[in-house]
Amino acid sequence: MAAHSGRSIAVKMTDVCRHFGDVKAVDHLDLEIYDGEFFSLLGPSGSGKTTCLRLIAGFEHATSGSIELHGVEMVKWAPRRIGFVTVGQRLVSVPPYERDVNTVFQDYALFPHMSVGDNVAYGLMIQKVPKAERQRRVSEVLDLVRLPGYESRKPAQLSGGQRQRVALARALVNRPRVLLLDEPLGALDLKLRQQMQIELKAIQQQVGITFVFVTHDQEEALTMSDRLAVFNRGRIEQIGVPAEIYERPTTGFVAGFVGTTNLISGALAQRINGSDQAVSIRPEKIHMVALDAAVEPGWKAVMGSVRDVIYLGMHTRYLVELEGGGDLTVVQQNLETSSIDVHASRGNRVKLTWDTTSIRVLQGQTV
């Protein structure tokens, strides 16, 4: 993106592979994360997003490729020796404890035998920060995550949300240049998760550290990220800002995984778009209008009948069977209380229209 030109790069992965035998957990990955941005790695489980994070942290070793943190190479070739005889080369990684990154683990990984204060001070102890400064920084960061005065508690005495905050504090207190978060909100209930999303974003803006955030929750990725990468089968399908990913998905996978969509191919695509290349149109971009309503220039209209109605509170989802074959999902907001009768519309003949610019042509597989 042009907006990022001139910004320094925090993480740069070039042609990185991580294979476990036949399993290609990460396959020919290219990724650039800029300094200070909130970057999400989004994908279903097994898509390689966590492996990618662990490669950056140093817990996993790349099978091939290059990983740079702030311009310093983390994956190097070293001679493979048997005794004193060099027999080839092997890739070695800079160990995690030599990297200026910190991780918030999915299971928080708090040390159960230490108090909250000792957990948070762990990194500072290793850096031999003097005791007075250590205590000050620990209490500062506990204030930041809104757990003031919790130093003497044990992790077992905390709730899930509180443990999550301690894990965050333990990483942040070291002032790393990059913070890696592995589905940190996954174990929290919905309300707490939404609250933590807002807090996490606020903390990131306050401390200005690069956040690399792994999640399988597309809504979370869209609301929190400056940019995100969508993972599928060890590869990145698309990288972009949230609106770009949602409005202009380039592949069928992205269109289907981020939000819901109508994936159209074959004869229906031919009828709708004039070409049999696969296309995507979001259900909310399709308008359901009166049968005699005029069609604006640049808009397309088709006729159909309502086959199914799903009432979702704020909006209603209609499954419309098109005349001439195929069906489309349409979402309409429930703007009037008369929407209490939405179920009565089942079987009705309707007219669907949409702006032809809201149709996205997709590359590659359509899932």
Partner: protein
């Protein structure tokens, strides 16, 4: 319940429903037998032992005087008897430490690095010795350690006989041959009790989540630091559990000090001698109380030091 009222459930189902609705009764039925067993044969025996230790032997008639008193304990605290206690406790402590030092690396390898297959083989290797008779293994060791045994032979082959002689010449722990020395006894104790140390340490290590080790490394901890600050503290309960086995088993063992060593008394042998030939059941009981007290103190100290905080 569906079905008409006339079809009554079978008696078996009625019993099941009856018990389901009375959880306390179910609990009593389930626990009655094991609790009875525990109370009579374990606690009952211990209480009887404790009571016996406060009786005394009438030296003149050779009869036990069933009156509470501390005379037997006075007898226990004489220099000769305390020598037996000290000797046994020191041996038990040294054996426990040696077992822990030997067991930890193996348990660590099994828990962290060994493949599924290798781990299975190692478990078997640890457990198979327990399948054979303890007595046979002790006598085997007597032959291994003997003057004409394989260890002496091996030192001879390597031309290291003077080293063995120098070791055996150490006062107190040396002897005429390994099988007649405390060193030999120590070796056999370590051999016999090692599995009881490996298994609990291994279990404790397997309970340490991998993410904790990664977290320590992530926060800048080198492997050495991670070991002392995270892995070891979290496995202390396992080491304590293992040392309870090795320590108490050594304290109470009778066979190894009888077969190996210079026939000096250990608590186990003292108990045997007092209750058998001497007929001094109270003193035998008092000797038995010693390991119980030591183990009690050991556990209290370990708890005070926070050894079980991670549990």
């Amino acid at each position: 319940m569906t079905g008409d009222a006339s079809s009554r459930p079978s008696w078996w189902r009625r019993v099941a429903i009856y018990l389901y609705q009375r959880p306390n009764l179910s609990l009593v039925l389930l626990l009655a037998l094991p609790l009875l067993w525990l109370a009579v044969f374990y606690l009952g025996a211990l209480v009887s032992l404790l009571i016996q230790s406060f009786f005394k032997l009438d030296g003149f008639t050779g009869r036990i005087v069933r009156q509470f008193g501390l005379e037997t304990y006075q007898q226990l605290f004489t220099a000769a008897n305390m020598d037996v206690v000290y000797r046994t406790v020191i041996m038990a402590a040294v054996v426990s430490v040696a077992c822990a030092v030997l067991a930890f690396p193996l348990a660590y390898f099994m828990a962290r690095y060994a493949s599924y297959r290798v781990r299975g083989i190692l478990y078997l290797a640890v457990l198979i010795p327990l399948w054979s008779s303890y007595l046979v293994r002790v006598y085997t060791w007597k032959i291994i350690l003997a003057q004409e045994g394989i260890i002496t032979w091996f030192f001879n082959v390597l031309g290291l006989k003077p080293v063995l002689d120098a070791i055996l010449a150490i006062p107190l722990i040396g002897g005429s041959s390994l099988s007649f020395s405390f060193i030999g006894m120590f070796l056999v104790f370590v051999y016999i009790w090692l599995p009881y140390m490996i298994l609990p340490i291994n279990a404790a290590l397997e309970r340490v989540p991998k993410s904790l080790i990664e977290a320590s490394s992530d926060l800048g901890g080198r492997p050495n630091y991670t070991f002392w600050r995270v892995i070891l503290p979290l496995t202390v309960p396992g080491i304590i559990a293992g040392s309870i086995f090795t320590f108490s088993l050594t304290l109470g063992d009778y066979i190894i000090p009888s077969v190996i060593g210079n026939s000096s008394f250990f608590i186990g042998r003292a108990v045997f001698a007092q209750q058998g030939t001497a007929g001094n059941i109270p003193l035998a009981a008092a000797f038995t109380v010693v390991p119980m007290v030591i183990m009690g103190v050991y556990l209290v100290v370990a708890k005070r030091l926070g050894a079980f905080d991670a549990l």
